[in-house]
Amino acid sequence: MSGTMIRIRDLAVRMGDRVIASVPELDVVAGECVAIVGESGSGKTTTLLATLGLIEGADISGNIAIDGVDVLSAPLAELRRIRGSRVALVMQSPQAALNPTMRLGTLMRRALARHGVKGAEARSRAADAVTAVLLEPAILRRYPHQVSGGQAQRFAIALAIALGAEVVLADEPTSALDVTVQAEVVAVLRRLRDERGLAVLLVSHDLALVSTIADRVVVMKDGAVVESGPAADVFARPGDAYTRELIAAVPQLPDRLAAEPAEDKK
């Protein structure tokens, strides 16, 4: 439960002579959620994709290990083994990643079969995973277009769980969802982290959302890390001017309990 699932040291991703993402140190241990926050062009998604060895056409230096496997030097077969079975990627629009001609149950069965899980074991894993993301098993009989964006996103997470993933990399997993649906996805990720020791590396521009789920935060700007630390500290006492600017830009809601005097409204 306390193993280091992702370990990044001196990562630099260069496009030509420009460094588009540079991360000196980033660890994600089991049962922990680490969030990379920043604006468009900050290098947060580049860092996430590099972690999975999915960046092509760029010069990558440094060390990246997922569950002890060196991503930058591992043979492709080894990378393919860990992608899916140990580490899963959850994208902004899951529906685009689900084959529209297959029922969700078929999709899951095929994914499990590809990793050697069949028959009763596959069925029980599928049922367990679907329940873990708070979906009803009946959803497995539906096609991707018959489920909502939030259900598809939770199914994508269920697929990762069924395959035994211990690390989930999520790129803006809730940005395309309504707030009520977003709350469900966040609840699912929190639950999996707390109850199953899932390690989550989350990329998001939504600081408020991040503050409700991340244990630690990495703030990136123009390809570089400007601040990192425990989420509570970073949000309560941001040390960097840019972090303060980001925090100040988040529209705040009034207190949910008591009405404030009207002159407080800003």
Binding site: E39, S40, G41, L134, E136, V147, S148, G149, G150, Q151, D178, V179, T180, V181, Q182, A183, E184, V186, A187, R190, H205, D206, L207, A208, L209, S211, T212, I213, A232, F235, A236, E245, L246, I247, A248, A249, V250, P251, Q252, L253, P254, D255, R256, L257, A258, A259, E260, A262, K265, K266
Partner: protein, 367 residues
């Protein structure tokens, strides 16, 4: 404040006949779903949420695509300052925006600009309406021709509505770009040479070029970074204060609405379920849906957002449309659609509004 053509504050509201338009509306002549409702167009004027003399107002508006009714009997008005329209995807908010822009004809009910029905505007009246009420959509690039430079795009808007010589046009483009916080040097760029935030600001500059009275903004900042969003919200606030610009802000982001809109309407399944002062709605919601929306919003350093459960449930076809997602639903909610009524200064369509206000625990609906 300058004089505003098209706005007739002194004229009494013209009572509208909801059946009059239905005969000309496209699609099958389905039975009017609003007929049973108590809301009579015009009575909403007594409601504080719909100020008298507002410039753009909808009364008893029902909108349909073919025989599918997507907006039911909505009343709202926009004058000076901001009005929020809040709802999830599929709630009908964009359809309503299109009708308010005159792009979609109501199945029944009226949309008035000043004292005149949008459907009865003559050519000149329509031109004036299109100048005065400008749309801004989520993706700024939709409003910009990919082949045109920023200057050409804004100039086109200027010359469509005003005669202007080249030098005056140049100067106006420069000042508009400065207004939206852009370096006037971007004037020579084309849309693909700019970031999303820059494009959105150009789209707003283009909308402002014709000196509109009112903007209809449909999720204008949803695709933008928080710092860019903050700059655009600052700009809207400034324009409202300095030029008396009114705007209808359509969004699912309650934080944005709270900052910019004194009045808000919450739309669920095409119906306004709660209207009133934004502060009241957010601090003490009277409708369980408003409550669910508010509690789902993540807060910086706050408790985790609270899932309300069953978000995938389709709106109920009978009774209260929210009942399948509602933790408080009872038999009466199943049997009777709740009529909108006044409760503690807001207008709410819920049988159990008093209990929501009293703080009945809002536990997730079991599945």
């Amino acid at each position: 404040m300058t004089e505003r053509p098209g706005d007739d504050l002194s004229s009494p509201l013209v009572p509208s006949d909801p059946t009059a338009r239905a005969t000309t509306a496209p699609g099958p002549a389905a039975s009017d779903p609003t007929a049973a409702d108590e809301t009579v167009p015009g009575t909403a004027a007594v409601d504080a949420a719909v100020p008298r003399g507002a410039m753009l107002r909808a009364d008893g508006v029902t909108l349909a695509y073919g025989s599918t009714v997507v907006v039911h009997d909505v009343a709202l008005a926009v004058g000076d300052g901001g009005v929020g329209l809040i709802g999830e995807s599929g709630s009908g908010k964009t359809t309503l925006a299109r009708a308010l822009l005159g792009l979609l004809r109501p199945h029944s009910g009226t949309i008035r600009y000043g004292s005149r029905d949008l459907g009865s505007l003559d050519r000149k009246g329509r031109a004036e309406f299109r100048r005065a009420v400008q749309p801004v959509f989520q993706d700024g690039s939709e409003a910009l021709d990919p082949r045109m430079t920023v200057e050409a795009s804004i100039s086109e808007a200027l010359t469509t509505h005003h005669r202007m010589d080249r030098a005056a046009r140049r100067a106006r483009v420069t000042s508009l770009l400065e207004d939206v916080g852009l370096d006037p040097a971007v004037a020579v760029r084309k849309p693909h040479q700019m970031s999303g935030g820059q494009r959105q600001r150009v789209a707003i500059a283009r909308a402002l070029a014709v000196e509109p009275r009112l903007l209809v903004l449909d999720e204008p900042t949803s695709a933008l970074d928080v710092t860019v969003q903050a700059r655009i919200l600052d700009l809207l606030e400034r324009l409202a204060a300095e030029h008396g610009l009114g705007y209808l802000l359509i969004t699912h982001n309650l934080g944005v609405v709270d900052r910019l809109c004194d009045t808000s309407h919450v739309l669920f399944a095409g119906r306004v379920v709660e209207s009133g002062s934004t502060r009241d709605l957010l601090t003490r919601p009277a409708h369980p849906y408003t409550l669910a929306l508010r509690d789902a919003v993540p807060r910086l350093g706050g408790k985790p957002p609270r899932p309300s459960g069953r978000t995938e449930a389709a709106p109920a076809a009978s009774g209260c449309p929210f009942r399948l997602r509602c933790p408080l639903a009872t038999d009466v909610c199943r049997d009777q659609p709740p009529a909108a009524r006044e409760v503690e200064g807001r207008r709410v369509a819920c049988h159990r509004a008093e209990e929501v206000l009293a703080g009945v625990p809002n536990r997730p609906v079991s599945r």
